[in-house]
Assembly symmetry: C2
Homo-oligomer: 219 residues x 2
């Protein structure tokens, strides 16, 4: 990884065109060839960048970064205040916990929390427009499609609505009810779901995990 602090102008030509007037900035050149230009604010997003795979051509005072789609990032250097190189090695990478996949696993193993006597037909039940998170049967044997989100917003309701429309065309399944399950459901999403006859369920990740560990304790 190479760190350069320099006064520079930057021009990007690709999906859009963009220009950065002259100023002091951090140029970050990573070992995969990617380049990013950072100002002294905003943790997440660089002012300008080129993602790998891409290639840096270095001429005196001008860096050109190009990718396969022929997008270019041109950095014109006016004054270099710092330039250092560091060998970081390969990063072991991030370990995550608490994402949607985990919610799906947990709820799949505890569909009875949705209703007494409910059973799981399958996770990732395939449809023409993509898989439904869970397909269940309630105690009377009726089908129920469940869409799971960490944060329940309007998009998720639309997604479930599309699935329901499709599933209800299948005479072997219809009628299929819908459940919108999320750790947190935005008021607007709840209104839309309710208006469409979709039941909303708030999930408690820690509680579901609790059930898990309780059951573990039984053995």
């Amino acid at each position: 990884m190479r760190l350069v602090i320099a006064r520079c102008t930057v021009d990007y030509a690709g999906r859009l065109t963009a220009h950065l007037p002259s100023a002091l900035r951090l140029l970050l050149v990573k070992s995969d060839g990617s380049v990013s230009v950072h100002a002294d604010d905003r943790a997440y997003k660089p002012l300008n960048w080129m993602s790998p795979p891409c290639w840096l051509t270095e001429e005196p005072g001008v860096w050109t970064v190009r990718n396969k789609a022929d997008e270019t990032l041109t950095i014109t250097l006016e004054e270099i205040q710092h330039d250092s190189q560091h060998d970081l090695g390969i990063d072991p990478g991030l370990v995550k916990d608490g994402v949607e996949a985990h919610l799906q696993e947990l709820l799949a193993e505890h569909v009875h929390t949705l209703g007494e006597g409910w059973t799981l037909v399958r996770r990732e039940y395939p449809t023409a427009i993509g898989p439904v998170d869970l397909l269940c049967r309630d105690d009377s044997g009726s089908s129920v499609a469940v869409e799971i989100k960490r944060r329940g917003e309007i998009d998720g309701v639309e997604q479930l609505t599309r699935y329901l429309e499709l599933l209800n065309r299948d005479p072997l399944l219809a009628p299929v009810a819908g459940i919108f399950a999320a750790q947190q459901i935005k008021p607007q999403a709840r209104v839309l779901a309710t208006d469409r006859g979709i039941r909303c369920v708030t999930l408690d990740y820690d509680a579901l995990r609790g059930i898990e560990s309780d059951e573990f304790r039984l053995f």
Copy 2:
């Protein structure tokens, strides 16, 4: 801006929990208080970060970054290889060209490219759930709502559908037709739009700009 190269472990607890095993990484502390942790690959995305507003507490060997929502980023430092401070000043910021706003401007000025004798009612026509990009009238005086995207995907069709549903409840406007206009329209989005009676129009940014300059040339 402070640049630190250090062997460290990182723990994030907030919307999810995440852990980074010990490795050599770049720690980027910006003057707005934000902190990001970068590996030697991927231009854009830090491994871990805390966005401003947030606050860094520095103890020997342990940094803690916290925000208002009480999410925390804990960095445990094992070995510091580099530590430098740089005063970059305020960045003049990015000048962009070719984003959706420009497409909207251009199409607003050339609604006749959508149909002979069409007129613009207004840009950003307000509805209860957000503004419609363009509201037009066709040659017969009928209303047409236009949703503009750079890249036309399924979300945009859903968005336009919601607008149309609302606009068609207004007896002064109804019936309102829909146009989904984008530089590029994904097949799935086209299918969905067509199925809902929404016309799809592919926009040519350069051509629209060309019309612009042609008209300039007339004077």
